[in-house]
Amino acid sequence: MLPMKREKDDSIYPYFDNLPEPLTTQILLQLPINTLLICRCVCTNWKMLISEPRFAKLHFQQSPTCFMIRPCDVNDSLVSRTMYLLECDPQKFQIGCNNHVKLAPIFKLPLRDTKFKNKKRDNNPLHYKFLIANSCNGLLCLCHPYKGNPSVICNPITGEFIRLPKPTTVTPPSSYKGIDLFRLSPSSLRIEPIVAFGFQPKTNEYKVIKLCVINVRRHMNPSFQRLTLQIHTLGTPSWRNVEVDHPIFISSLTHATSVNGTLHWIRFGRWQVSILCFNFESERLQSFPSAHVFEKNEILDKGRISMGELRGFLYICDASSPHGITMWIMKNYGIGESWTKVYNIDTFLSNDLSSHIGSYWPVKHFEEGAALLSYHSSNCFIFYEPGKYGFKVFRIHGIHQSKYFQLIPHIPSLISLKDVVKGDNVEVLNIHSRCAKLELCEENEVVSLVQEFVCDLASTCSLSSYGKEFGDEHAS
């Protein structure tokens, strides 16, 4: 007997009443985070279900990559504690009136100095601002902007945060090869702190490391470097010094990425680029195979190379060549030869847009290539997915000229810090009960995206893909 077809009219019938719980759970697991949070308010059963650690973990594991975008100011006049979650499927954007897409929900970071007084005349934003080191498993690591000390680990979705104990100050070496370093001027001795946050699956621990690169200069030239490394396991009371070898000259380290219990960085040296890694188990700092990815050996434009993690794979996105963008994925972790080109766009954009400098972030990879997000200096986001919608361009509205966005790849997670931090020693705080109510005048702006145009793929670029092992069925 066929079920009677109900009429479709303006009021909503309960279509999915009396569903067995496994079905409801499965549906909820496949919702994006903001809809999931709305569902948490539906009834007490759903609230319990969604708040369960097991559910949060399952949901996190199948969540797509998103980005936290954080308005910053070139003049450093913002506290920048608000962030917006940018999901990367532009086909799902709800375009309202005037072609605007509201950027919601809004997330807040804790304030660095809790003595923030709303009425105080000279609130220097830099007293309250945090730097974001990196994102790992849905958690952000926040640092002091000057000293670089890691201070807070937070989950922006749940609003929870914990304060980290202070690392011990690094004392510079007093002499080197008989040279008394105290005689050198202070500017000859520079300590660059590098902070990164990662996860060790084997022990189920989260660790923060503070790496200090001590540069000693003589006669304006960098003479030598020494490294000190301190490590902290979340939930323990203190930091620990780790002796590390200094494998290679470090000019800067960027794009900290935690994969497989190891932190990786793109290392820029004097003339070369490579990958440096720190393994949490062996506690060794060493080079990581990057084989043919950086074989050009030129000093590449730092701003145009990015590294990150997609679905457990390490990727490198190289947009430094004038010829286009290349994306590499490490198919077999640790094996240099397994760096495979997934994607190469020869001419990324039509002439109007190609003159703008931007950063490129892979959003996902699949058989036929990858989807990319590009953030351009003209303050627009360009989404690109071949075979689907081609290009979609959205301009950012509602922010002042001097502002730009910092993009942090982030997977939203409902996992509570209480389940992450071992032991009872650490207090888990929540911004909702603290500084969320405070209004900063910079937060009165309404930021939205406006869709500009959609390009047809065929007319704007040529594309070659190399997706054989991913089940390539489409010719380039």
Binding site: L2, P3, I12, D17, Q26, P32, N34, I38, C39, T44
Partner: protein
């Protein structure tokens, strides 16, 4: 084991229609597979309750597309919410993993960006929060609702798109 040594399995739907399907397709239905394995003797026909012939048509469509590597082309957009629910229950009964995920994703897509009131009505759920509890949880999630219309309480019948 079942019917004969041929590669076809006979499935009989609730409305009496018999479908002869490839063994490979029957394998994707864990419920059916279990019946086949448990049977001592040959089974001529496997009855599948809660599954109608229009469901089988769609299941066969999906199977053909996925074998051809085109499973992304399968769409349930044309199904209204009732039809989608029935289909989902049928696929759940048959315990077909891939198709089940496709359908639950389709439902999830239909719930996106909807209000609390809409979701409650959709699932026929009563609000059992006390006003204080509800206010507290709304406040905690306040940012998720910022900018949206204040969704109507359960008495109002306002459809939001």
């Amino acid at each position: 084991m079942a019917s004969s040594s041929s590669n076809l399995i006979s499935l009989k739907t609730s409305d009496g229609t018999v479908f002869k399907v490839e063994r490979a397709l029957a394998k994707t239905m864990k419920t059916v597979q279990a019946i086949i394995e448990e049977a001592d003797a040959n089974i001529y026909m496997i009855p599948i309750h809660n599954v109608f012939s229009h469901h089988m048509d769609m299941i066969i469509d999906y199977y053909k597309l996925s074998v051809a590597g085109k499973s992304k082309e399968f769409s349930v957009e044309k199904l209204d919410n009732d039809e989608l629910k029935d289909f989902l229950l049928a696929v759940h009964y048959l315990n077909m993993e891939d198709l089940f995920e496709v359908l639950t994703q389709a439902v999830a897509d239909r719930l996106e960006k909807k209000s609390v009131g809409y979701v409650r009505k959709y699932f026929g759920i009563e609000n059992d929060f006390t006003p204080e509890e509800y206010a507290a949880i709304r406040k905690k999630n306040d940012w998720a609702f910022k900018g949206d219309d204040i969704e109507p309480e359960e008495d109002e019948e306002k459809q939001e798109e």
